[in-house]
């Protein structure tokens, strides 16, 4: 009992003494250096319309002012603007050619069984050529400016790099300012990193808004005839069509899928008719012109129509 108490006291004393001696010399945890986070209020559109750019490209606009160590270069010359060339007009839709009236399909003789005169199967006669259509020719769309997708519209013009030697007089003329900047720099750690250089996946604009898409969907839906039926849940009609910048159909809309349901073809024809009808009423012309170009532009649309609602 007594021996145990002594051993316990001795052991604890040794551990405490070792701790007092060894721990103060231990290496302290590294203190992480945390950059300050700038906070600013941004609108939703600023957030969604990420600028296109290259993360590894030249930084063309420094986000933070650098101390003037060298004389200011000459103000950058404005970049050459790319003059919009008259573009080849997006495939003028050929005037509707009068469909050559094909010979009618011979159909089975509709004679009922009790009718005494069964007739041989009719022979399809070649139908005469149709008269030329008197449909007024559609005026070709106006020439459109070429799509300048390579030039981000909102990007500032890059400064022209000059090889001229900076004028030293600028430094000499503003020593106070220079000193103040240097002083400020000495006291703060302003980040030199750009807020955002853009990403490869960035876009020029975010494309049509949800509201704009809803308007188009509503116009097509109202004009899409379907039966008051329940259709198979996987039945859908995918339509694709191109639009001119004025919001007019450019070429014929096409159906991009199929389905074994016998009602599919009727639904697909009705979907194409719906697109034609929206076009005829000028429905697509409400789309904002500035969102026409680019990867998210509305130059090509692909509605998917589900009859079940």
């Amino acid at each position: 009992m007594r021996a145990g108490l002594i051993a316990s006291l001795t052991g604890h004393t040794v551990i405490l003494v070792w701790g007092l001696v060894a721990l103060p010399g231990a290496e302290s945890f590294p203190e992480p250096v945390v950059d300050s986070l700038p906070v600013e209020l941004v609108s939703l559109s600023e957030l969604t319309e990420i600028q296109i750019g290259e993360t590894d490209g030249d930084i063309e606009a420094a986000p933070a002012p650098k101390p003037v160590e060298n004389p200011q270069p000459e103000p950058p010359e404005p970049a050459e603007t790319v003059a919009p060339e008259p573009a080849p007009v997006a495939a003028t839709p050929p005037p509707p050619t009068p469909a050559p009236a094909p010979a009618p399909t011979p159909a089975p003789e509709p004679i009922t069984a009790p009718d005494p005169e069964p007739e041989p199967a009719p022979v399809a006669e070649p139908a005469p050529e149709p008269e030329p259509a008197e449909e007024p020719q559609q005026a070709p769309p106006e020439p459109q400016p070429i799509v300048t997708s390579a030039v981000p519209r909102s990007k500032p013009a890059p400064p022209t790099r000059t090889e001229e030697k900076p004028e030293e007089i600028q430094v000499a003329d503003n020593p106070d300012l220079l000193n103040k900047v240097n002083q400020a720099l000495a006291n703060t750690s302003t980040s030199q990193a750009p807020a955002s250089a853009g990403t490869r996946n960035g876009v020029q604009h975010a494309g049509l808004s949800a509201n704009e898409k809803d308007v188009i969907a509503q116009m097509i839906r109202e004009k899409w005839s379907r039966l008051p039926d329940q259709y198979p849940s996987d039945l859908k009609v995918i339509v694709r069509f191109k639009l001119s910048p004025q919001g007019k159909l450019s070429g014929a809309p096409t159906v991009e899928n199929s389905h074994p349901d016998p009602r599919f073809q009727a639904l697909a024809s009705a979907a194409l008719r719906a697109v034609y009808r929206v076009d005829a009423e000028g429905g697509f012309s409400i789309l904002p012109r500035e969102k026409y170009d680019g990867p998210n532009g509305w130059n090509t649309m692909q509605p998917t129509l589900y009859p079940n609602g």
Partner: protein, 449 residues
């Protein structure tokens, strides 16, 4: 030597890798274009009747009245379906259409037509008629359908129905039902002294013909789904019995030789059997008779009244009405008999069930609080919907495409009587079929052609 072959293999691998890299590069280049689409999901659509223009068919060789009448029959067929809205001919801008010229589509778009039918009727030297028609998509500016037919002049109405069916099928994707007939019980005389004859007419009420003379009381005629035969109940013999009648030859025969009254007959989907009720004392049970072997099979054996059997279109099940649970309700059993599952649980009494040709619905008559209703429900009893109700509605029968029900509606009073009506599955398109006199127990034929 070995080194050379390794070099060659290495060179090939490098070439293959290069090709693969180029292919991958091209794929990557192509990917952004796949995203260069504005994709929009659209759910639902409109179920408004489709505006369709039907200018009078032209008549080559004379009979312009016949051509106009044919156009009128087609327009009436399409209008009655509730799915089409034939436009007023007075609004047409382009006149004197020829079937062989391309329409001025702008003129038809201007009056909101979405489809256009042009046609001609030509009298042949041998006296026959040749009819041609074209169905145009006014907005796509293309022909959707073009057909021609030959027939005898007296068949012109049928020809019009056939053209209606073709237009209907192209624009809806489902079979039409215009080239069909309806068999029914024609009723004349006062209410207490009715003469009942079997009669048949086109689905639009035209071309009524009488199949019996009215000497015997007839009830519940039912069309064969595969032939021009009907089965019905008649009081012609000692006991009321079920008969078969070939409407083309007029040949009549009794179905089976049962000791007791047989009633409520109906064909199986293949037309080879008839299922019906046999009364035994105060009970009635369901029997099936094979029309080829004349062999009969008992399907139910209860102390209740089991009647109005109707096959599912695949022939595997039978729906019928029974009061085995205390009141008239609907039950489903296997076609070979056996245990039945009750499927109707709403308030009121359910009777005269008929399975849809599509298989997805069962139509019935429902009586509740003094009202008679025609409704539909799923084969499991779910999704009950009442399509029409009133003083007395009874005896629904399906059109061959399963979209429309024909039934009869009685009117009260000394001068009242039954009339034939149709209603589609929406319940909104309800129309009377004109008959020469009172008419009950309608049954729809399959498509004739």
């Amino acid at each position: 030597m070995k080194t050379d072959s390794f070099d060659r293999i290495g060179a090939k691998m490098i070439a293959a890798s290069r090709t693969l890299a180029i292919a991958l590069g091209m794929l990557l280049l192509a990917l952004p274009s796949a995203h260069a689409l504005v994709e929009i999901d659209i759910r639902g659509g409109n179920i408004e009747p489709l505006p369709i223009a039907l200018p009078d068919f032209s008549a080559e060789g004379g009979d312009s009245k016949l051509a106009a009448d044919m156009t009128g029959v087609i327009a009436a067929d399409l209008r009655r379906s509730g799915l089409f809205n034939p436009l007023d001919p007075a609004s047409f801008i382009q006149k004197n259409m020829s079937v062989n010229s391309t329409p001025r589509f702008g003129d038809w778009r201007q009056i909101s037509a979405q489809a256009l039918v042009t046609g001609t009727v030509i009298k042949q030297p041998d006296g026959r008629l040749r009819a041609e028609f074209r169905l145009w998509d006014v907005f796509a500016q293309e022909q959707m359908l073009g057909q021609q037919f030959y027939t005898t002049p007296e068949n012109w109405r049928r020809l019009a129905h056939i053209i209606s069916d073709a237009i209907y099928e192209r624009l809806t994707g489902e079979k039409g039902y215009f080239d069909t007939r309806i068999v029914f019980v024609d009723e004349t005389g006062t209410k207490d002294k009715r003469v009942k004859r079997l009669a048949i007419m086109d689905q639009d009420g035209a071309n009524v013909r009488y199949l019996t003379r009215g000497d015997d009381l007839v009830l519940t005629p039912r069309f064969s789904p595969t032939s021009q035969e009907i089965t019905y109940m008649s009081y012609g013999g000692a006991d009321p019995s079920v008969y078969l009648l070939n409407i083309e030859t007029g040949q009549r025969e009794i179905v089976g030789n049962f000791p007791g009254m047989t009633f409520a007959p109906r064909f199986s989907p293949d037309g080879q059997s008839v299922v019906m009720s046999l009364q035994q004392g105060g009970n009635a049970n369901i029997f099936m008779m094979d029309l080829r072997s004349r062999r009969t099979t008992r399907l139910t054996n209860t102390a209740a009244i089991d009647t109005s059997p109707s096959f599912s279109p695949d022939g595997r099940q039978i729906v019928f009405e029974s009061d085995r649970g205390g009141s008239q309700q609907l039950y489903v059993m296997n076609a070979g008999g056996g245990e039945a599952q009750r499927i109707s649980f709403g308030p009121g009494r359910y009777s005269t069930p008929v399975w849809s040709p599509r298989g997805d619905l069962i139509a019935f008559t429902k009586q509740h609080q003094g009202r008679f209703m025609i409704g539909v429900m799923g084969p499991d009893g779910k999704g009950e919907r009442i399509l029409t109700e009133g003083y007395h509605n009874e005896g629904p029968a399906w059109s061959p495409n399963g979209r429309v029900l024909v039934f009869f509606r009685d009117t009260p009073g000394a001068n009242g009587g039954p009339q034939v009506w149709t209603v589609d599955l929406t319940g909104y398109n309800e129309q009377r079929v004109d008959t020469p006199a009172f008419a009950s127990d309608p049954s729809w034929s399959p498509l004739i052609n």
